[in-house]
C-alpha cells in the first residue's frame, strides 16, 4: 500500500515540478534537534559572554595594543592599564576618594531636588488642567535653553558655591522628567480610564491603578534622560569652578598636562553614566514585568 503510493507519486508530481523553477520551502523542527541540549547551553554561554560590554572591552583591548606598539603617544592617550594604575595611585594618595565622594554628593543632591520638582510638577500637570497651564509653558522654554548656557547666569545669581552646582544638576534632571511624565500621564489609553470609571473605581483608584502604572514606561524614559543630564550637569558645573571634586581633578590635571589623570576623570564619569543606565534597566525589568517585550536573538 505504502510502496504503491510512493511509486505512483514521482510519475504524477515530480515531472512538472522538475520542468518549472524549484519552489522555496521552509521546514521547521524543534530547536533542540539541531544540536544536543547541553552543547546548545554551552554555546549560548560562550556566545557573547560580555553582553553589552563587548564593544567597550574590544575598544579598550585595541587601545592597549596600539598604545603598547607606539602608535598612540602616551601624552595624547595613555593606555588603559596606565589609566587604571593612575586611578589606584590617586586613590592611595587620598585624592580620588574625597573628590569622588563630593561629586557623588553633588549629583545625588541635584538629582533628588530635580527629580522631586520634576515629578511633582509632572503629576500635577498631567492630572490637572490648571497644572498644565502653570508648568507646561515654563518647561518648554527651559527645555530649549542649553544647560551650559545657563551656567554663567547661575554663577552670577548664586555664586560659585555648591548651590550653583546642585541647581545646575537639578535643572538638567528636572526638565526632562517633567516633560516625559506629563506626556506619559496624558498618553494613558483613555478607554482604560473610561472603563475604570464605569466599573466603579473612585478617583484615587483611577489614579493609583490606571494612570500611574500606565505612565510608568514614560516615567522610566524620563528617568533615563534625567540621570544622563545630571551627569552632564555635574561635569559642566565642576569643570568651570571648583576646588574639589572630579571636575576639579580633571581641570587641574589638564593644566599640568597629566593626560592620564584627565582620563581617570573621564572614565569615572562614563562609569557613572553606565551605572545609571543599568539601574533604569533593572527598574524596567522589575516594574514592567507585565509588558512582554521583544526578545532579540
Amino acid at each position: 500500500m505504502t510502496n504503491l503510493s510512493v511509486a505512483t507519486r514521482p510519475d504524477a508530481r515530480s515531472a512538472p515540478a522538475a520542468a518549472g523553477p524549484p519552489h522555496a520551502r521552509d521546514v521547521f523542527l524543534p530547536a533542540d534537534s539541531r544540536r544536543t541540549a547541553s552543547w546548545a547551553g554551552l554555546w549560548r554561554r560562550l556566545h557573547w559572554p560580555l553582553g553589552i560590554y563587548t564593544t567597550p572591552v574590544l575598544l579598550l583591548a585595541l587601545w592597549e595594543v596600539l598604545g603598547r606598539v607606539g602608535v598612540l603617544p602616551a601624552l595624547y592617550a595613555p593606555v588603559p592599564t596606565d589609566i587604571a594604575s593612575t586611578a589606584v595611585q590617586l586613590w592611595n594618595a587620598g585624592v580620588l576618594g574625597p573628590d569622588l565622594a563630593i561629586s557623588l554628593q553633588r549629583a545625588g543632591l541635584g538629582l533628588v531636588l530635580g527629580l522631586s520638582v520634576g515629578i511633582v510638577a509632572g503629576v500635577l500637570g498631567g492630572f490637572l488642567r490648571r497644572g498644565e497651564y502653570l508648568f507646561n509653558g515654563l518647561a518648554q522654554i527651559l527645555n530649549t535653553i542649553p544647560l551650559l548656557a545657563v551656567l554663567p547666569l547661575m554663577i552670577v545669581w548664586f555664586g560659585i558655591d555648591e548651590l550653583t552646582k546642585v541647581l545646575l544638576i537639578a535643572f538638567g534632571a528636572g526638565v526632562p522628567m517633567y516633560l516625559n511624565l506629563f506626556a506619559a500621564i496624558r498618553g494613558v489609553d483613555h478607554r482604560l480610564i473610561e472603563m475604570a470609571r464605569a466599573t466603579g473605581a473612585g478617583r484615587w483608584r483611577v489614579v493609583g491603578w490606571v494612570l500611574l502604572p500606565g505612565a510608568l514606561p514614560g516615567f522610566l524614559v524620563g528617568l533615563r534622560f534625567s540621570l544622563a543630564y545630571s551627569v552632564l550637569g555635574l561635569v559642566a558645573a565642576e569643570t568651570v569652578n571648583a576646588d574639589q571634586g572630579l571636575g576639579f581633578l580633571v581641570t587641574q590635571a589638564q593644566t599640568y598636562l597629566q593626560t592620564n589623570q584627565v582620563f581617570v576623570g573621564l572614565v569615572i564619569y562614563s562609569i557613572l553614566g553606565l551605572l545609571a543606565d543599568q539601574i533604569v534597566r533593572i527598574l524596567e525589568r522589575v516594574l514592567l514585568r507585565w509588558r512582554p517585550s521583544y526578545e532579540a536573538t
Binding site: 472603563m195 470609571r197 464605569a198 466599573t199 466603579g200 491603578w209 502604572p213 500606565g214 509588558r291
Partner: protein, 254 residues
Amino acid sequence: MTTDERLREEQTIKAAATNPRQQTGVLVERVVRTFGERTVLDHLDLVIDDEELVVLLGPSGCGKSTLLRLLAGLDRPDGGRIEVPAKRAIVFQGDRLLPWQRVLRNVTLGLHGPDADQKARKALADVHLAGRERAWPKQLSGGEAQRVALARALVAEPELILLDEPFAALDAITRVRMHDLVRELRRTHHASMLLVTHDVDEAIALADRVVVMSNGRIGNAHPVQLSAADRAASVAREELRMALLADLGLANPH
C-alpha cells in the same frame, strides 16, 4: 405670583424630573442625542424590565453604542430622560483589561473591602477561569480576556449589565461558547441586560426581546419565547430570523 413662589414651583418641577419613577429596570423617554448637525438618537423610547435581556439590533453607525453609552452614564443626552439603576456594569467590545494588573486585580478594580478578593475569585470561577487569577492579561486568549471582562462586570452584582458588542471580535466557535456562558450566568446572576449587536444569530440565541433600531428610534420589537433547542433550529426561529432581516432591510424577496 411672587418670585419666591415661582422659584419654589421651579424647584418642585426639577425635583420631579430627578426623582426615580420606578424601582427596577431601565426607562428611556424621548431621548435626543446630536453630534453637530447629525441627530443620532431622535426622541427614542425604551423600557427594559427587571431581569429582562433585551438585544438591541442594528447596522453599524445607527446609534446603538451611543444609546448604550448614555445608559452607562458615560455620555449625557441632549434631550429627554434616562433612568437606570445606580448599580450597573458595562462590557465593551474590547476587553479593556489593565495590562499591568494581574487577572484578579482587574476583577477587583471597582471593589472595596476585605472580601474583594474572595468575590473576584468567585466571579472568575463563574466564567470558568478559576486558577487563572495570577495570569497577566497579555497571556490570555481573546475569549479568556473577554471572560475576565465579564467577571469584572458581574463581580459587583449589578442590577443592569450593558454589553456593547461584547463578542464581535471573537471567532465563531468561541462566540457560541460565550452565548452558552451568558445563558448560564443568567441563572445565577439576576440583572437586566441590554446587549448591543449587529449579529442576528446572536440576538436570536440570547434575547428575551429583540428591538431593531432605525433612524435614531426603536423600530419593531420581537418578543422571543423559544426554548434553547428551538433557538438553535426550528421553524419559529427561521421566521424570527426572516422578520429581523426584513427589519434591517436585508429581506430576501424569494
